[in-house]
Symmetry: C2
Subunit: 112 residues, 2 copies
């Protein structure tokens, strides 16, 4: 989980073992082309959310495979899910993305 | 490589196959606790650079293992390396980190 990782930029001070383990888990979720495409595809749908039925047509893999990848993204805290009738809807967690973006921000060196 | 991946935020429009593959490669490099600790450790050294000899004491793994992890970070474009005498020195590539940070930035929804 990103919340269990750390909140200061990666380059500010050395990560602890615990922070590194939490963060590696999040990056592992993003370290797959299908999951990355899924993630950016969900975000590009209206309202930043989509159901599995919206996503499947964009991929050559089966629906259970898509569902598995979505589960990995959810377990890493990158998307939220909500069941509506037959389908599960997924939403990109902007706050998690924001934390990750901040974490990777390079520090600014002030001269003088 | 980050440069081969993409320059617009992940949530702005769906990634292409090529962009997703390039980006997954970079995240894979970061998806390891030892590499993450190495990366943040290098950044925290004076001048944002360190030699393998500086880094090894912080880890329980062998120097060849550290060197292997550094090679993965270098191949992903996250660090630069330069040989000085016996040792190879590593430097965090702030520009690559900045691109990655921008890529993960959530889009701002403007009301009205």
């Amino acid at each position: 989980m990103i919340a269990e990782a750390c909140s200061t930029p990666l380059v500010t001070e050395p990560l602890t073992d615990l922070e590194a383990a939490g963060l590696a888990h999040v990056f592992k979720a993003l370290a797959d082309p299908v999951r990355l495409r899924l993630f950016s595809l969900i975000a590009s749908f209206e309202g930043g959310q989509a159901c599995v039925c919206d996503l499947t047509p964009y991929f050559d893999v089966s629906q259970p495979t898509i569902s598995h990848h979505l589960k990995v993204l959810r377990e890493a805290g990158l998307v939220d899910s909500e069941r509506r009738g037959t389908w599960i809807h997924y939403r990109v967690r902007s706050e998690a993305l924001g934390r990750l973006s901040l974490l990777l921000a390079p520090t600014v060196t002030v001269a003088g």
